[in-house]
């Protein structure tokens, strides 16, 4: 199946520092692919089954991320910015996919932070979608996925074309080696602009700033372990959980 793997390239939220006043300092945040994206790529390879597999990223995504992981060609929409509205992000992906044409399946990381992108994408394409998928393959012209739902594991079959949003189960175990990175350099990267794909990069919403959540801080017992332990046990007995 002709498959598109959409990966995100964004500042790593784990590196963002939240200041005491609730504002966010992004200065030390490094650009990385989403933590689910490598798993999405594995699923995309399985669905493509050797047919065309195209990497797609928007913004200043690093094409070599996908190329070094075995994708043979990538497209990046260079002038798209990072948007708050997940539907606007999805609209840019849709416009890029129209340029590609004839796609049977689009596979994308199901990130917590951008949980709206895969489903808005499916909505705009008018395609069915399955989220939180752990693995996928192509079976008789359909896409078969496995996902965990509560305490059970479902195997679901879905007719193409479809959107498959994949969640990783762990950090990536093996990153590309020297030869793979070298090979990536020789593969084609197509750069597109928003104008060229007929898309716009405007947020339909505006952010009015951030603040700290008003969750109650934990009651901390410190100092002498024996005293702290006794206070904790007393508190837990008070809660009725011991």
């Amino acid at each position: 199946m002709k498959t598109v793997i959409v990966y995100k390239w964004a500042r790593n939220a784990e590196d963002a520092v939240v200041r005491n006043d609730g504002t966010v300092d992004w200065r030390n945040a490094k650009m990385t692919a989403g933590e689910d994206d490598f798993a999405a790529l594995e699923a995309a390879k399985a669905i493509a089954e050797g047919d065309e597999l195209i990497g797609l990223t928007i913004g200043d995504g690093d094409a070599s991320w996908a190329l070094a992981r075995g994708v043979l060609q990538t497209i990046s929409v260079t002038d798209a910015s990072n948007l708050t509205d997940n539907a606007s992000t999805a609209a840019i992906i849709v416009a890029a996919m129209r340029q590609i044409g004839g796609v049977d399946a689009v596979v994308i990381g199901d990130s917590e932070e951008y949980a709206g992108v895969p489903v808005a994408l499916a909505g705009q394409l008018g395609w069915p979608a399955i989220a939180h998928v752990s693995s996928a393959s192509a079976v008789d012209g359909r896409v078969q996925v496995v996902r965990k739902q509560g305490s059970s594991e479902q195997t679901i079959s879905i007719a193409a074309p479809a959107v498959i949003a994949v969640s990783a189960a762990s950090p990536e175990k093996k990153t590309p080696g020297m030869k793979e990175q070298l090979a990536a350099r020789k593969r084609p990267v197509t750069k597109l602009t928003l104008a060229a794909i007929g898309a716009a990069s405007d947020d339909k919403v505006s952010s009015k700033g951030t603040r700290l959540p008003e969750t109650a801080a934990a009651r901390i017992f410190d100092g002498d372990p024996a005293a702290a332990a006794e206070q904790l046990v007393a508190a837990l007995r008070g809660e009725g959980v011991l």
Partner: protein, 303 residues
């Protein structure tokens, strides 16, 4: 004041979805997609009306197109869905039909003139962001569950659907570890990479025995180190558990880990790093070396 729709795919958060939509001050319509019981649960959660799509045992996602058409026809300013895998797919289709913005992580909604204000959790819940939208908005609710106030049931109106999308469940099996004791335990003592070596698990077991607890762990302890069975690790890709008491020992509190204990009643963190994120999430904490704290807890429990 703006009208809102809520998309209901599971009973768990219905009351919270309605409560969040009430912040807008307008009429609230719930659309429940699933069995009749789900629609009935929505009917007593406080909306003004309930529409019901009978899912007839096929995956709820297959009705995304129908739900989108129904909801969009009413031109609501706000649509709230739960952040579950199915709820999101229905909401994404609806947003496309409505031309709405999509904002994950919604906590609180209000109307400001003809604009909608969404307060949402961002950065794994470390901050709350305030977002304003002039046009329609679709959000996934990410706040706490609330207890239903026992509203009088409103009528449930079954609605017809278009042809369902071609999605089939081929097989359903119990997930790994679904039957493990940790899922039913009232108390779970869980250990992370703060433990220095496998042999030291003995003191953790002793504490668990004293508490009548099951042992849990963070992913690396099971996955990378293999000190504890894989069925026992807690978190996003491991077990999601809801014990009365969860004691996280030498566990940093990575967001992926915390995902597994959102429904725990009381969480205790024991960590020698006062800045460990577990202390932002826990109800109680002891800052100290686990090798000092565990024996001290044993002693305190004996008193």
């Amino acid at each position: 004041m703006s009208d809102a729709w809520i998309i209901v795919t599971e009973e768990k958060q219905v009351a919270a979805l309605v409560a969040a939509a009430k912040g807008l001050g307008g009429k609230i319509t719930a659309i429940a997609v699933g069995p009749r019981a789900l629609a009935d649960a929505a009917a007593i959660a406080g909306p003004d009306e309930v529409k019901w799509v009978d899912a007839k045992g096929i995956p709820v996602e297959a009705y995304a197109g129908s739900v989108a058409r129904l909801v969009a026809a009413a031109l609501p300013k706000v649509v709230v869905a739960s952040g579950t895998v199915e709820g999101r797919v229905l909401a994404g289709a609806t947003a496309a039909r409505l031309g709405a913005a999509v904002i994950p992580g919604g906590l609180k909604l209000s109307a400001l003139g003809d604009r909608t204000v969404v307060e949402r959790a961002d950065l794994d819940g470390r901050v709350v962001e305030t977002i304003e939208a002039a046009g329609p908005v679709v959000t996934f609710y990410a706040g706490d569950d609330v207890a239903s106030e026992g509203f009088a049931a409103v009528p449930v109106e079954p609605v017809g659907t278009d042809a369902a999308a071609d999605i089939l469940v081929e097989k359903t099996e119990p997930a790994a570890g679904a039957g493990a004791g940790i899922n039913q335990a009232a108390v779970v003592v869980s250990v992370g990479r703060g433990l220095k070596k496998k042999d030291d698990l003995a003191i953790v077991h002793d504490l668990a025995n004293a508490l009548g607890a099951e042992i849990g762990c963070s992913m690396p302890v099971a996955d990378d180190l293999g000190w504890v069975e894989k069925e026992r690790y807690v978190g996003r890709s491991g077990q999601h558990i809801a014990p009365q008491l969860y004691i996280a020992i030498g566990i940093r509190g990575a967001p992926q880990h915390l995902e597994g204990i959102r429904d725990a009643k009381v969480v205790v963190g024991i960590n020698n790093d006062p800045d460990a994120p577990i202390f932002k999430f826990a109800d109680y904490g002891i800052v100290g070396d686990l090798y000092d704290v565990i024996p001290a807890l044993q002693a305190a429990l004996g008193k």
